[in-house]
């Protein structure tokens, strides 16, 4: 059966088969599905969507779950920075949906959602399917605002000025560009304005580029042109840069131009490989503009965003405040103090899964507890982290107790080494929590 052309009959077949496959685990049966089982439809099989599907299965063995994802495989952004410097292959970061189907009895449709009819509670897709839902979950990631930069476009990002902020071909393009920088050349990285996915991502990338250059292009330089004056974990990051790349000295391999120093990029001249900023123009041998972001396109199309470009939600459950029986997870949602990270998306997905199960069974939702931990590398053996537990207070998601904290800056040399190993262990556990 071709994955791209699922007919209605196939759909039932898939349902039947997956239900049988999962019977052993969750005591479901094909019959239980056939008669009036609740149907939850999930748009997006990324981190938020997949975790929600799986934990919804834990919370409710009988509910029918359909996940609609436009790509047959998912490449995690997590650790995609490592791919550019050869510490990982894209292959190692690629996952399919077989486990979702076989172990958890989730019907995964490979198709693109094009619209939602809220009155009829129906999702429509590019291949012309109409799927009815009782509850809808939307976790489509982010959309890039190329229009904020003169001369930038999606086409340019695919060919010459990659953002590589969605793992895939652009990751490999950027890797090739890094390797092609002439000796003593410059890589320019332009992080976006807040809020954006993976707040430490651009700075980790700068670190790994500098480390790569130490080995392969020792006179090379990484220039960060930032619209902001601060960034996440900037304390431990800068300490790491001082220790590893001479940051703050004349020979530093990393230079960071903050917003108030005129670091904001306003345009790019791809032919001359030059960026225009609030301050000077800069010429680079590699230009990595990571554009400003907003909620995934489908969330905009189906009216889940507000004036901010992101999706407002009920903080206790992650349910949209704009449409009933619709949940928005992950990068697209407005989750206040929580960063737009994979960990956060998974955390929200678990809260939502429980809330959806509760709502289907007429129970009132429990108190919401969220969490986030982000590990980043300032070097292959130099990890920095940030961790927090969250709760809803005064109507906003805020750190709970005294849990929020970044890696302490200590003179303990083992701390960053350990955090780098923990990062690897964490990444393995995390993708298991999402996909196995």
């Amino acid at each position: 059966m071709s994955q791209n052309k699922i007919t209605r009959r196939d759909l039932i077949k898939v349902f039947g088969a997956s239900a049988v496959a999962a019977t052993g685990l969750f005591g479901m049966s094909a019959k239980a599905y056939a008669k009036g089982a609740n149907h939850v439809v999930i748009i997006g099989g990324g981190v938020g969507g997949s975790v929600c599907a799986k934990y919804l299965r834990f919370a409710d063995a009988d509910v029918k779950i359909t996940m609609i994802e436009q790509n047959p495989e998912y490449i995690t952004c997590l650790r995609s920075n490592d791919v550019m410097v050869g510490y990982h292959t894209l292959d190692e970061l690629t996952f399919n949906y077989n486990t979702m189907r076989e172990k958890y009895g989730i019907n995964v449709m490979i198709d693109q959602v094009t619209g939602v009819d809220y009155d009829r509670k129906t999702v429509s897709t590019k291949n012309g399917e109409k799927v009815q839902y009782d509850r809808l979950v939307v976790s489509p990631g982010v959309d890039f605002r190329f229009q904020d930069y003169e001369g930038l476009s999606k086409e340019l990002s695919d060919t010459k000025i990659p953002h590589a902020y969605k793992a895939g071909p652009q990751t490999l393009l950027l890797q090739k560009q890094l390797e092609s920088i002439p000796q003593g050349g410059t890589a320019i990285i332009c992080p976006p304005q807040n809020p954006f996915r993976c707040p430490p991502g651009p700075y980790e990338r700068a670190s790994l580029f500098a480390e790569w250059m130490q080995k392969h292009n020792p006179r090379g330089k990484v220039l960060i042109c930032d619209p902001k004056d601060r960034f996440t974990k900037d304390g431990p990051f800068k300490k790491g840069w001082e220790r590893l790349y001479g940051y703050g000295t004349d020979n530093s391999m990393i230079e960071w131009i903050s917003g108030s120093q005129g670091g904001r990029v306003v345009g790019v001249d791809a032919k001359n490989m030059t960026i225009e900023t609030d301050g000077d123009d800069h010429k680079g041998d590699l230009i990595n503009i990571i554009p400003n972001q907003q909620a995934g396109k489908i969330a905009q199309i189906i009216g889940l965003t507000n004036h901010s470009g992101w999706c407002p939600i009920d903080r206790h459950t992650m349910e949209s405040t704009l449409h009933k029986d619709v949940w928005v997870l992950g990068d697209s949602s407005i989750a206040d103090a929580m960063p737009k990270s994979g960990y956060a998306a998974g955390s929200q997905a678990k809260v939502a899964a429980q809330a959806i199960a509760d709502s289907l069974h007429g129970r009132s939702p429990g108190k919401a507890i969220y969490s986030n931990v982000c590990y980043s590398l300032a070097g292959e053996n130099y990890g920095v982290s940030i961790a927090a537990i969250y709760e809803v207070r005064d109507g906003l998601i805020k750190p709970k107790g005294k849990s929020a904290g970044v890696s302490p800056i200590t003179d303990k040399p083992a701390q960053p080494i350990l955090e780098a190993v923990y990062q690897k262990n964490w990444q393995r556990e995390f993708v298991k929590d999402v996909f196995s």
Partner: protein, 233 residues
């Protein structure tokens, strides 16, 4: 000391992917009795106080506990270990002789690589100075296992554990103390010997005794040794 460690750390990072944890395993020469004896004899004298400071400075305490008594099922206990065995292990991690591939020794390999011979001797002296402690397990006297420990089993050519590890499991020289060892770690490392994941022992001096043990035997041995310190004897 701090400075030296930091320089080591930066050197490590610079050396880069050749040392990457997920890359190919570097090949170190296996010890022979002669090379090992020679190396251990050449190790500097350990300083207990410096060892204790390093134990904190290097954050060994975050896994192995304040005095080396593991607070968790996850990590090995180091308290009461012989100096020679601890030194051998850290050298083995440093040179990748003990490298149990995935998920196991990566941390120890990376940490040992920023430790000098002096650092290694110091922590070894510190652990040797600590008392062994019994691990809290349900152990009911198991005559078969206690005979295996004390008398071995001639049928499967099993030398008694006690003949090498001591009657109280207290160890001797490069033969480790195993009394009070964390049972989950004990089981795992015995399985690792058995299946060939762990092969840093000299001339298979330990792994040869694991081949004919059943999983049940190993579990029972782990429980027996875990409760041994201060227990009946």
């Amino acid at each position: 000391m701090k400075k030296g460690l930091l320089a080591g750390l930066i050197g490590l990072t610079l050396a880069g992917s050749a040392m990457a944890g997920h890359g190919e395993k570097p090949h170190a020469e296996h010890w022979t009795n002669a090379t090992l004896t020679e190396k251990l004899a050449a190790m500097p004298e350990g300083n207990i106080a410096n060892g204790q400071a390093l134990h904190v400075q290097m954050m060994c305490n975050s896994c192995h506990g304040e005095q080396g008594e593991s607070p968790s099922r996850n990590y090995a206990s180091l308290n009461g270990q012989t100096k020679e065995y601890t030194m051998k292990m850290l050298l083995d991690y440093r040179d990748s002789r003990r490298w149990e591939d995935y998920k196991q020794a990566n941390i120890m390999v990376k940490l040992a690589r920023v430790m000098s011979d002096q650092d290694i001797a110091d922590v070894a002296a510190f652990y040797a100075e600590q008392d062994m402690k019994a691990w809290d397990v349900d152990y009911t006297k198991d005559a078969r296992i206690e005979r295996l420990v004390a008398k071995g089993n001639a049928n499967i050519m099993l030398t008694p554990c006690a003949s090498c590890h001591g009657v109280h499991g207290e160890g001797n020289g490069i033969t480790p103390a195993i009394a009070g060892q964390v049972p989950e770690y004990f089981v795992r490392t015995m399985k690792a010997y058995q299946e060939g994941h762990r092969n840093n022992d000299v001339h298979k001096g330990m792994s040869q005794f694991t081949h004919d043990l059943s999983d049940e035997d190993i579990k029972a041995l782990a429980n027996y040794y875990a409760q041994l310190p201060g227990g009946e004897k």
